[in-house]
C-alpha cells in the first residue's frame, strides 16, 4: 500500500496525511512495576507515563495512553536504529515491549478543530471543548476500530487504525 492519504480531500483549512516514517512501540507495565516504570520514564523522557487517556510529547517520543498500564511510544523511524530495542533496554524488567510499527496505519488530520462532519461521525463527544488537545480515545467508527488523539499543541488529530482495515478507514476519513 502506498500512501493511503493521497487524493483525500479534507475540509476547509484541514489536510490529511499518512504518517509512514515512524516507529511505534507498544509498552505494557510488568505486574507491580508501575511506580518503578514511571521513575524510569522520568529519567529517560522527563515525564511519568499517563494514567488516563492522554498523549504526551516527551522530547523525541510521543507517548500515547493505549489502555490500562499500556502506551504507544511513537518516534521517528531511523535507519539502523530500532526504538523498540532501546525501549526494551530502558524499561528492562519493568515493562514488556513490542515493536508494533506496522500494526496500525496512522493518519494525521491537521485542523485547529473538528469539522461538523467529524463531530457527527465520531461515536464519542468530539466537539472542540469536549475532546481537548492531548486527549486520547480508543473507540470505533463505522464498524472500524480506531485510536484517536488530539495533538497536544491543538494543531490537529491523529487516527490510528488497524493496518488491514486502513482502506475502509481512509474512505471514512475522507468523508469527514
Amino acid at each position: 500500500m502506498s500512501n493511503l492519504a493521497n487524493g483525500l480531500a479534507a475540509g476547509k483549512g484541514a489536510s490529511i496525511s499518512e504518517r509512514s516514517d515512524i516507529a511505534v512501540t507498544h509498552v505494557a507495565a510488568r505486574r507491580g512495576a508501575r511506580a518503578a516504570l514511571d521513575d524510569a520514564a522520568r529519567t529517560a523522557f522527563g515525564t511519568a507515563l499517563p494514567s488516563a487517556p492522554r498523549v504526551i510529547e516527551a522530547g523525541t517520543a510521543t507517548i500515547v495512553w493505549a489502555g490500562p498500564d499500556q502506551w504507544l511510544f511513537i518516534e521517528k523511524a531511523q535507519a539502523g536504529s530500532d526504538p523498540s530495542v532501546k525501549l526494551a533496554a530502558t524499561f528492562q524488567g519493568l515493562a514488556s515491549v513490542v515493536d508494533v510499527s506496522d500494526s496500525r496505519t496512522l493518519f494525521r488530520l491537521a485542523a485547529s478543530g473538528p469539522s461538523e462532519a467529524l463531530i457527527r461521525g465520531m461515536g464519542i463527544d468530539f466537539e472542540h471543548n469536549s475532546f481537548k488537545p492531548g486527549d486520547v480515545a480508543i473507540t470505533h467508527v463505522s464498524h472500524l476500530g480506531v485510536m484517536v488523539w488530539r495533538l497536544p499543541d491543538g494543531s490537529g488529530y491523529e487516527f490510528a487504525c488497524a493496518r488491514t482495515y486502513a482502506r475502509d478507514f481512509r474512505d471514512w476519513l475522507g468523508k469527514v
Binding site: R30, S103, I119, D125, T164
Partner: protein
C-alpha cells in the same frame, strides 16, 4: 386550471404564495405553495378523497394535519424510490411531487373491493380464526393467497433503494423534543444558561401549535414569536436546531434515536447527500415537549372524507391558509375545539352548527356562537355523517332526542386531547389516567427526563410556556448551568375544560374506532363478548391500534369503550404504553451506509494488491478477502488450477499468504505459567527458539482453537490463532489474565496486523528462502530443524521471523516481515523463486493439502468437538490444570464411543465425496437410528488421484478398513466409502523433516 386552489383563503397562512409548486395526485396535475404539505395542497384544491381503507375499502379523506394520520396515506414517488403508506399530512410539498392513492381497484373513486363493506357482517373481528379451516389443504392453496392479495396498503419499491443513508452522533446537556410553546421556552431557557442544547421537531417548521392556532404572545402573532425565539436560538453557539427530525425512541442511559429527513422534501437528494440521517443523541437531560394529539369521537360514518379533527381544521386554516370546506359543523366535548368556530368564521367558512356533548357550554363560547349566528346544540351529538365519498351533512341527535339533519361538507370533530407521552413510556414508564383531563398523562419517568406542556397534560398556552421555562431551567441546573431565569411570557388565560365522551349511541352507520384498520364499535363489543377484554387482547383480536398510525387516534377510544362495556374504570382496563418507533421510520436509515459491499469492513492482507495483479480469485474469509486460487490462462476450471497449485507445492515450491492468522505476543515472567493454563499441552517446557502446536479448550471442555506457540525468550512467546478465532481468543486470554489469574505477570499484545506472513512450502522451499534470509542465518536442517523458530533479518536488513512449520506436510517455513514489507517480500519470493518453479497458491490448495495431511480445520473445530474427538486427546497434559480440563472429564465428553475424526476414501475411486454426508452401515436403511457420524471436509486429492474426506465416526480407530455408506440425500447421492487413516499423504511425515 382556473379552479386551482379555490379553497385557499386570502390573507391567511404561512405558505409562500410567491413560490407555487406543481405536483400530481393520481396523475392529475395540481398546484400548491412552498410551505404546504401534500394534504394542505390537496385540500386547497378541494381534493378530499385520498385513499381507501384496509378491509372495507371505504373512501377516506384527511383526518389530521400531523403524523398521527390514519387515512391520507399515499404512494409517494415512483420506481425504485416508491414509498408506500406515506402520510400526506406530513409530506412537505416539493416541485414535481408525484403521489398515488393506494389499495383501490381500478380507481380511487370506483373501487370494486368496496363490496367488502357489504360483507362486513361476516368480516367481523376475528372471523379468520373461525373460518377457512376446511379442508385443511385449501389454506395455502386458496384461502391464504386470497387474504394475502388483499393484504397491505401500498407497494414496496421493486428495486434497490438508490438513495444513501447516513448516521451521526450528538451529545448534549439538554435535549428538547418538540418545538411548540413548551419546547421553545425550554430550549431558550436552557440555552441562555449556557447548557449545550439540541432542539428537535418532526415538522419542517418550528412552533408546533403556535403556527397552527391563532394566538398572540407579547403582542406578537404566534408565528412571529416563534421566529424571534428561533432566531435567538440559532444565534447561540451551544444550540443545535434540528427541524424535520423525529425522536423515534428513548433508549437506556439517555440515548435517543432520531431520524432527520435531510432530503425528503426534494424530488431527489443532491449528489452525495443522504436521504435521511440516523442520529444517536446522548443527552444528560431530556425534555419531552411533544404536545398532544386530538382524538376523534366515534360516530356513524365518522370516517367519511370531510370529517376532520378540529385541531387539523385550525391548522389548515391558520398555517396553510386553506378552508377545508364551505359549510362546517363543529362537534366536540371541549372548549378548545369549540373555539374552532372563530377560525372557521375568519376563513369565511359557514358554521352551520356547534354540537357539544356537554349539557352546558361556557357562556363565552355560547355568546360567540350567537354573535356569528351559529346554531348551538348542547348535550347533543352528531350520530352520523351523511354522504359517501364526501360529507354532505350531519345527523344530529339533540339533547331531548330530536334528530336534526344539517347540510355541511365539513365536520370538525374533537373528543379531547391525548398528551404525546409515547417517548416517556419507551423505557418502561406507565402512563397514569387523569380523570379531570379525560386523558393519560406521563407516569414515572426515566432518569434525566422531564415533560412539559401539553405532553404533560397542561393544555393552556400559559401553562405550556411556564412549564417549558421551568423544565429548561431545571434541566440546565442539573448539568450545573444555574444562571438561567425560568420566567415565561405571560399570555391571556383560556378555557380548556373537557368532559369525557368517547362514542355516540344510536349511530345508523358503521362507527369506526380505528379508521385505518377498519375496527368498528361493533368489533369492540364482539371482542368483549368473546372475552378479549384486556386491552392487549382487544388490540390483538381486533387489530385496533396496529395500523401505521400506531393507534394514535384510536387506542384511548378503544380502551374507554372496553372499560364502559366491562364496567371497569379506564385505568383498571389498561394503559397505552408505547414502544419505539414513535412514528414509523424507514428501514434504510436504520442500516445507514452498511449495505451492499459496505455491509461489513473488508480486511486486506499486505500483499493483496500483488495478488490482484496476478489475477487471483478472492474469497471472503470472515472479514478478510483472501486469494482463493491463482488461475493461469488456459486453465479450464478452478479444480485444474488448484490441482496444479498442489502438485507444484508438492514437487517444487509454493508461497501462500497466511497473514490472516491471529497473532498475539505473550510476555512477562509468568508467560510460561499462563500458557500452560490456557493450552492443553505444556508450553513452559518449550525451548527458546522452538515452536509447538497447541490446542485451547473452552472451560466446558470443548476445543476452542488451535495454533502454534513460538518461544523467543524466557519471558517472550508468540502464539497464533486460526483466522476466524483471532478476536475470540484474545478476549478469552484477556479474561484469563485479568479475571482468573490477576496475579500473574503477563502482558498480551495483539499483533495480527504487524506481520505479513507467508508459508513457503515444497521440496525447494529451503533453496528459495536461502536467497531471502540474510546471512549469516543458517537455514539448513541441522541448524534450523523442524519446529524451530528465529528472529532474523531478510532482504538485506529487514526485521523478520522465520518458523519451521508445515501445514502442507512438505518441507515448509513460515516467514514474517513487518506488514509494510509484505508486498516486497511476496514479489521477491516470486522473482527469486522462478528458478525453482515457485508459484503462489491460495486458500483452496491450502485446504486440499491440509486434508491430505488430516489436519483439523474450521469444519472440525465446530464448537462441539473435544480434543479426543479430534484425535488430539494424547496432547493433553496430565501434569497440570488447564482451562477445560475438569469439565472435559464429564461422562458425556469422555465417552469412548463418541465420534472421532478419521479419514475416508471412496470405494469406487472415481466417485466424489460430499461434505455433510452422514455415515451409515453399508446395508443399513438411511434412517436416524443408523446414523454413525458425518463427513466434515472433502477434497479431490491430486496426489492420490481420488477424493478423500475427513469425518467423525463412532469408535473410528477400531474401524479402519470398514466399508460404509456416505449418504447425502439433499444431493441425492449415496457413496460407498472406506474408513482409512486421516493421514492420506506421507503418513510418516518424512517430507517435512528433510
Amino acid at each position: 386550471m382556473t379552479q386551482s386552489q379555490s379553497f385557499r383563503v386570502a390573507g391567511l397562512g404561512l405558505v409562500d404564495r410567491a413560490q407555487p409548486l406543481d405536483f400530481t395526485f393520481d396523475g392529475v396535475p395540481y398546484t400548491g405553495f412552498a410551505g404546504d404539505t401534500l394534504a394542505s395542497a390537496l385540500l386547497a384544491n378541494g381534493v378530499h378523497l385520498v385513499g381507501r381503507s384496509f378491509k372495507y375499502h371505504r373512501p377516506r379523506g384527511i383526518l389530521t394535519a400531523g403524523s398521527e394520520e390514519p387515512n391520507a396515506l399515499v404512494e409517494l414517488r415512483s420506481g425504485a424510490r416508491r414509498e408506500p403508506n406515506t402520510r400526506a399530512t406530513v409530506t412537505e410539498l416539493y416541485s414535481g411531487l408525484d403521489a398515488k392513492s393506494q389499495n383501490r381497484f381500478p380507481s380511487l373513486s370506483l373501487d370494486l373491493l368496496s363490496i367488502n363493506g357489504l360483507l362486513s357482517p361476516v368480516f367481523s373481528a376475528g372471523f379468520y380464526y373461525k373460518t377457512f379451516m376446511w379442508p385443511a389443504s385449501f389454506w395455502e392453496k386458496l384461502y391464504e393467497p386470497m387474504i394475502r392479495r388483499a393484504a397491505g396498503l401500498g407497494r414496496a419499491a421493486d428495486a434497490p433503494d438508490p438513495d444513501i443513508y447516513d448516521k451521526a452522533n450528538a451529545f448534549c446537556d439538554v435535549l428538547v423534543i418538540g418545538s411548540g410553546p413548551a419546547g421553545l421556552m425550554a430550549a431558550l431557557t436552557a440555552a441562555r444558561s449556557g447548557a449545550k442544547v439540541i432542539l428537535v421537531d418532526e415538522n419542517f417548521a418550528f412552533g408546533g401549535r403556535l403556527i397552527s392556532d391563532w394566538r398572540t404572545i407579547e403582542g406578537k402573532s404566534g408565528s412571529e414569536w416563534v421566529n424571534s425565539v428561533v432566531t435567538e436560538l440559532a444565534s447561540l453557539p451551544n444550540v443545535r436546531l434540528m427541524p424535520r427530525t423525529t425522536v423515534f425512541g428513548a433508549y437506556d442511559t439517555g440515548t435517543f434515536g432520531a431520524v432527520e429527513r435531510v432530503a425528503d422534501h426534494v424530488a431527489v437528494p443532491g449528489p452525495g447527500q443522504p436521504r435521511q440521517t440516523l442520529w444517536h443523541i446522548v443527552a444528560k437531560q431530556s425534555i419531552v415537549a411533544q404536545g398532544s394529539m386530538e382524538r376523534p369521537i366515534v360516530f356513524g360514518n365518522n370516517d367519511r372524507p370531510g370529517v376532520m379533527l378540529a385541531s387539523a381544521v385550525r391548522s389548515y386554516i391558520n398555517r396553510f391558509g386553506v378552508a377545508p370546506g364551505r359549510t362546517a359543523v363543529v362537534f366536540s366535548n371541549n372548549d378548545e375545539a369549540a373555539n374552532t368556530i372563530d377560525d372557521l368564521v375568519r376563513a369565511g367558512v359557514t358554521v352551520a352548527a356547534l354540537v357539544d356533548t356537554r349539557p352546558m357550554l361556557p357562556p363565552a363560547i355560547k355568546a360567540k356562537a350567537r354573535k356569528h349566528g351559529i346554531r348551538v346544540f348542547e348535550g347533543a351529538a352528531v350520530t352520523d355523517a351523511v354522504g359517501g365519498q364526501r360529507v354532505s351533512g350531519a345527523r344530529i341527535a339533540a339533547a331531548y332526542g330530536s334528530i336534526n339533519n344539517i347540510v355541511c361538507d365539513l365536520i370538525a370533530v374533537s373528543g379531547g386531547f391525548n398528551p404525546n407521552l409515547q417517548v416517556t413510556t419507551h423505557l418502561g414508564g406507565r402512563p397514569q389516567w387523569q380523570e379531570s383531563l379525560a386523558a393519560f398523562v406521563p407516569g414515572t419517568l426515566p432518569k434525566g427526563m422531564s415533560v412539559a406542556g401539553a405532553a404533560n397534560g397542561s393544555f393552556s398556552l400559559a401553562a405550556c410556556l411556564r412549564e417549558g421555562a421551568r423544565a429548561g431551567a431545571n434541566a440546565a441546573a442539573a448539568g450545573g448551568f444555574n444562571n438561567g431565569s425560568a420566567s415565561a411570557p405571560a399570555v391571556e388565560d383560556e378555557l380548556t375544560e373537557v368532559s369525557a365522551f368517547w362514542h355516540v349511541d344510536g349511530a345508523k352507520h358503521k362507527a369506526f374506532v380505528d379508521q385505518q384498520n377498519d375496527v368498528t364499535a361493533a368489533d369492540v363489543r364482539l371482542a368483549e363478548r368473546e372475552g378479549f377484554r384486556s386491552v392487549e387482547h382487544l388490540k390483538r383480536y381486533t387489530t385496533l391500534g396496529m395500523a401505521t398510525d400506531q393507534g394514535k387516534t384510536s387506542n384511548v377510544n378503544g380502551l374507554a369503550m372496553m372499560a364502559e362495556l366491562t364496567k371497569k374504570s379506564i385505568p383498571a382496563t389498561g394503559t397505552t404504553a408505547a414502544r419505539p418507533p414513535y412514528v414509523p421510520v424507514s428501514l434504510g436509515v436504520l442500516a445507514g451506509e452498511h449495505r451492499g459491499k459496505h455491509f461489513k469492513p473488508t480486511r486486506l492482507t499486505p500483499s493483496h494488491d500483488w495478488a490482484k495483479e496476478q489475477g487471483a480469485v478472492f474469497i471472503e474469509a470472515g472479514l478478510w478477502l483472501r486469494a482463493q486460487y491463482f488461475p493461469k490462462p488456459g486453465e479450464a476450471d478452478w479444480l485444474t488450477t488448484v490441482n496444479r497449485e498442489v502438485k507444484t507445492v508438492r514437487s517444487a515450491v509454493g508461497v501462500c499468504d497466511v497473514s490472516t492468522l491471529g497473532k498475539i505476543e505473550v510476555h512477562g515472567t509468568d508467560a510460561r505459567k499462563f500458557l500452560d493454563r490456557v493450552y492443553i499441552n505444556m508450553m513452559s517446557t518449550l525451548g527458546v527458539g522452538k515452536c509447538r502446536y497447541g490446542m485451547m479448550l473452552r472451560e466446558d471442555g470443548i476445543a476452542m482453537d488451535d495454533g502454534t506457540a513460538a518461544r523467543f525468550a524466557d519471558d517472550r512467546y508468540f502464539i497464533t490463532t486460526t483466522t476466524v478465532n483471532a478476536i475470540k481468543v484474545l478476549q478469552h486470554l484477556e479474561l484469563c489474565r485479568q479475571w482468573h489469574w490477576p496475579d500473574l505477570d503477563v502482558q498480551l499484545f495483539p499483533v495480527s496486523d504487524q506481520w505479513a506472513q507467508y508459508s513457503v512450502a515444497g521440496p525447494r522451499a529451503r533453496d528459495l528462502l536461502a536467497k531471502i534470509v540474510d546471512k549469516p542465518f543458517d537455514i539448513s536442517n541441522t541448524a534450523f530443524p523442524y519446529m524451530a523458530c528465529a528472529e532474523i533479518t531478510a532482504l538485506g536488513g529487514i526485521k523478520a521471523r522465520i518458523y519451521r512449520l508445515s501445514f502442507s506436510g512438505e518441507l515448509a517455513f513460515e516467514i514474517a516481515v513487518p506488514a509494510r514489507h509484505g508486498d516486497l517480500l511476496m514479489r521477491k519470493l516470486m522473482s527469486e523463486g522462478k528458478e525453482f518453479g515457485a508459484i503462489p497458491y491460495g486458500t483452496e490448495a491450502l485446504g486440499v493439502m491440509r486434508i491430505e495431511k488430516g489436519h483439523v480445520g474450521g469444519s472440525e473445530l465446530n464448537g462441539t468437538t473435544t480434543a479426543a474427538d479430534l484425535g488430539l486427546g494424547k496432547m493433553a497434559s496430565t501434569k497440570k490444570d488447564f482451562v477445560g480440563r475438569v469439565l472435559a472429564q464429564r461422562p458425556g465428553l469422555a465417552d469412548p464411543d463418541r465420534p472421532r475424526l478419521i479419514g475416508f476414501r471412496p470405494v469406487d475411486r472415481t466417485a466424489r465425496l460430499r461434505g455433510g454426508a452422514h455415515f451409515i452401515g453399508k446395508d443399513d436403511q438411511p434412517i436416524a437410528k443408523n446414523d454413525q457420524g458425518y463427513m466434515t471436509s472433502v477434497t479431490y486429492s491430486p496426489m492420490l488421484g481420488h477424493w478423500v474426506g475427513l469425518g467423525f465416526l463412532a469408535r473410528a480407530e477400531a474401524r479402519i478398513g470398514e466399508i460404509l455408506s456416505a449418504v447425502d440425500p439433499v444431493r441425492g447421492e449415496t457413496t460407498l466409502v472406506e474408513v482409512v487413516s486421516s493421514a492420506f499423504y506421507d503418513p510418516e511425515g518424512a517430507r517435512l523433516r528433510v
